[in-house]
């Protein structure tokens, strides 16, 4: 799947890149390009694409995922080509209908193992081998001559590079989410002392929260809203990175994803609202490190897989289409007989956005993503 630098140039893709959109105009007004924003939302923990963008037209899908689909079957949000969005994506579906949202199915990075950490690092680095001091978003914004912003305490790998990136995070800590607390319960399973400490800590916190009605948590919606505001305030910040964890649904996936998708959907709506006018010049990329197993596991969840989906949305997007090539779900069509087979590289779609939205040239794209070529599809209106 990865294509070397030479193939990229030989393949004539560069020619397409340069002729598809008349970039000279945009380059003459570099500042107007800089006002075009890219927001990257990294979903940590591996989102199950088969439950977010449901391939209802696939003949094998319902048989394999019946237990997961039945509880939401009557509320699914229809897309083209027989796909449907999970009912929690209310805002995304509205944007889809107004041409500002498009999902890409069956994507993956260049990574083919199943470790969250390695996969996330590599996705942030955007290279075939992780370089911890060299992130894809930093390289891209460097080509543009702007700078990046991370909604984070520290500079994430994606924004590490030659130039300094800014970070912003509220000074109070994020309240630990139920997922982490659940994992701590497991960690303390054989230790009565720590189990009791944890339970009393949770009880006390919950009581406190009931009393204070709404303890201000820097949750995803809040961070997304702040992200939009900061992008509006700072002219030279051309891109930002947001993160959302909680996708590692090894058990009780239906309920957990109902909530997770809602958190994501509402956060994206907050981002749109706070961006205001700037939304029309914004492309939001939502990606995850890998997908999950096609089959349901023994605890009503799914395990680490390979192919997943990504979302491209925003006022600048040519939405109302489902992109990506569907590989099928029969046993022989799966990756290693268990995972959704990735048919395109996440980086290729990102490259297309960088070209079509920021006007990066073929040569510049090679410096950002030396291992892939951009997709020949129109994703930015």
């Amino acid at each position: 799947m990865s294509i070397g630098r030479r193939d990229f140039i030989k393949g004539g893709v560069a020619g397409w890149v340069l002729t598809q959109a008349p970039m000279a105009n945009a380059w003459a007004k570099a500042s107007s390009v800089k006002s075009k924003k890219i927001v990257w939302v990294m979903l940590r923990g591996a989102m199950d694409s088969l439950h977010s963008v449901l391939p209802l037209a696939d003949p094998n899908y319902m048989a394999i995922r019946k237990d997961f689909v039945e509880p939401i079957q009557n509320k699914l949000l229809p897309l083209q080509q027989g796909y449907a969005l999970h009912p929690s994506f209310k805002n995304c579906h509205q944007w889809y209908q107004s041409g500002q949202f498009l999902p890409v199915v069956a994507v993956a990075s260049g990574y083919r193992e199943r470790s969250h950490f390695d996969a996330q690092d590599q996705m942030e680095s955007g290279l075939n081998a992780t370089d911890y001091e060299n992130g894809w978003l930093a390289r891209a914004v460097n080509e543009l001559g702007g700078h990046g912003l991370a909604i984070s305490q520290t500079v994430p790998i994606a924004l590490r590079g030659k130039m300094d990136s800014q970070t912003w995070f509220p000074s109070h800590f994020t309240a630990s989410e139920d997922d982490l607390l659940g994992r701590l319960r497991k960690l303390y399973a054989n230790n009565q002392e720590f189990s009791e400490l944890l339970e009393s800590a949770i009880t006390s916190r919950d009581m406190l929260e009931m009393n204070e009605q709404k303890r201000k948590r820097p949750d995803f919606s809040y961070l997304a809203a702040q992200c939009g505001e900061l992008l509006n305030l700072d002219d030279s910040a051309s891109c930002a990175m947001l993160e959302l964890g909680g996708w590692d649904t090894h058990n009780n996936q239906v309920g957990r994803l109902n909530r997770q998708f809602k958190i994501l959907d509402e956060g994206l709506a907050q981002l749109k609202e706070s961006l205001g006018e700037a939304w029309k010049d914004t492309v939001v990329l939502v990606t995850t490190e890998f997908g999950r197993t096609v089959k349901i596991n023994g605890t009503k969840g799914t395990d680490h897989g390979t192919g997943s989906a990504m979302f491209i949305l925003g006022g600048a997007v040519k939405g109302k289409q489902v992109l990506g090539e569907w590989p099928g779900l029969s046993d022989s069509q799966l990756f290693e007989n268990r995972d959704l087979m990735p048919t395109t590289d996440v980086r290729s779609w990102k490259a297309s956005v960088l070209h079509q939205h920021w006007g990066l040239s073929a040569e510049q794209l090679l410096r950002v993503f030396p291992d892939v070529k951009p997709m020949l599809k129109t994703v930015v209106a």
């Binding site: 950490f117 630990s176 400490l197 916190r205 996708w247």
Partner: protein
């Protein structure tokens, strides 16, 4: 092969393991701990560590600050009497800014000094030495309340405690009780003997302050139930009248003995008599108190409770008390008795880390050199802000104090936050810090975590990392 004893040495008696420490602790962990208390070694350690903030500088800055402040007031008054002058409000502002900026500078220097110590503790090759400094700094706790104490508090540890770990307890005791930070914190610099020259002139308007004397007996030496009574407190208070602080920026700027404040006459404290005299009278009492078996028992039990177990094994304490008696409270020998005792090396870690130990060991394990919020703010969030125990008794040293529900949730949230600063691979961090003490279940949960950050959080919150 690395023994589990090397890891116990690094964790229970230090801030955790790293490659160099494990190599040095290696096969002789006890010897490794004890050589850290060697006089020459400590001198070298302190020389390598340049902490410029001193009580002298603090007192001098304070004197200038007070002077400036007075001047600011005069200027403000002048300005208000000349309402026609348009520029007055700005002048006033600028003058205020001047004393303000001195104040800011002082607070910044004191905070820097604290942060510097912590940063040093993360990487030091003498972690046991520094754990002892932390212990005695809390034993002789001073709180940074009020401007002068904010500036002075950290200097007590640097000047009174750190240079005196490798010596007699009496030496440390005298250094601490005569240190400006302690004298001001417990008001002894205002204590006046009623029959002293100054006391007689003041005609009852100035008198004795027992604050420091009481805490010396109750907290620093004998312990609350040792059998001393009010007359011992009063007698000790009389003996140390005149122990004060010279605030003159141009002169000594430090401890001074004011003979004019000193209560004349013989003293009797805890069954012993002391002839009349000046500063040497108080020193003689402190020396006897330092060598008293009750003090030996009190301080030894606190040491064992701090390092080994909330239920300090009496056998270790007894051993230390007997060495205390035979060496007149020579600290390296007393501490050696604890280190050589087999009960100090139980395979089960029994001590729940204090927030400070938790924070420093976290930074060490994850190779974090800088935190945001910084060390002081992190400790504030975790409930153990340096020099803010708010009581001369210092912070408590047992699990029920640190593992309350709120504190526990705070620890989880802080761990989740701090883990963002960790760059190493989670399993590498975990095995590097705990070696054979790392639990199988923890390994499993680390490997199943959904992100690097979450994996590190789980490791930091694992029972085997929370305890030492």
């Amino acid at each position: 092969m690395l023994s589990s004893q090397a890891f116990i040495a690094a964790n229970r008696f230090g801030y955790g393991a790293d490659q160099t420490i494990l190599e040095q602790a290696g096969t002789e962990p006890k010897a490794w701990l004890l050589q850290q208390l060697d006089v020459a070694n400590i001198a070298k350690e302190l020389a390598s560590f340049d902490n410029a903030w001193s009580s002298k500088t603090a007192i001098k800055s304070m004197a200038i600050y007070r002077q400036k402040k007075k001047q600011d007031k005069v200027n403000a008054k002048k300005a208000s009497m000349q309402p026609s002058m348009q520029a007055a409000p700005d002048d006033e502002k600028m003058m205020m800014l001047n004393s303000d900026s001195i104040q800011k500078q002082m607070n910044k220097s004191a905070a820097k000094s604290i942060n510097l110590t912590i940063a040093h503790q993360i990487t030091t090759q003498n972690p046991f030495y520094w754990r002892l400094v932390d212990f005695f700094s809390n034993h002789f706790s001073v709180s940074a309340s009020g401007q002068i104490m904010r500036a002075l508090a950290p200097t007590l540890e640097n000047e009174g405690i750190a240079p005196n770990i490798s010596g007699y307890f009496s030496e440390m005791l005298v250094a601490v009780e005569s240190h400006p930070a302690m004298l001001i914190y417990l008001n002894n610099e205002q204590s006046v003997g009623p029959n002293s020259k100054f006391g007689q002139r003041a005609k009852g308007k100035k008198g004795l302050n027992e604050n420091l004397a009481r805490e010396i007996l109750e907290l620093h030496t004998l312990g609350v139930d040792a059998g001393y009574d009010q007359s011992d407190v009063t007698e000790l208070a009389r003996a140390i009248t005149g122990w004060g602080v010279d605030n003159n920026a141009k002169k000594n700027a430090g401890f001074t003995f004011r003979a004019g404040f000193h209560e004349p006459g013989k003293r009797r404290v805890f069954g012993r008599s002391y002839k009349s005299g000046g500063v040497e009278q108080g020193i003689a009492i402190l020396k006897d108190l330092a060598e008293d078996p009750k003090t030996a028992e009190h301080v030894s039990r606190k040491l064992v409770t701090h390092f080994v177990s909330d239920q300090a094994p009496q056998e270790i304490v007894d051993q230390m008390v007997s060495i205390w008696a035979s060496t007149k409270g020579y600290l390296p020998k007393v501490i050696e008795a604890m280190i050589l005792h087999p009960l100090s090396w139980s395979e089960t870690p029994e001590k729940f880390k204090t927030p400070r130990e938790f924070m420093i060991s976290t930074c060490k394990a994850c190779d974090i050199k800088r935190l945001r919020p910084d060390f002081i703010k992190s400790l504030t969030i975790l409930g153990q802000k340096p020099f803010a125990a708010g009581s001369p008794a210092g912070y408590k040293d047992t699990q029920e104090y640190w593992a309350g529900p709120r504190a526990m949730m705070g620890r989880i949230e802080w761990a989740e936050h701090a883990s963002k600063f960790a760059k190493l691979a989670p399993m590498e961090i975990a095995t590097g810090a705990l070696g054979p003490q790392l639990n199988k279940l923890t390994q499993l949960q680390i490997s199943r975590a959904e992100s690097k950050q979450q994996a590190v959080t789980l490791f930091l919150m694992s029972p085997e990392f929370q305890k030492r």
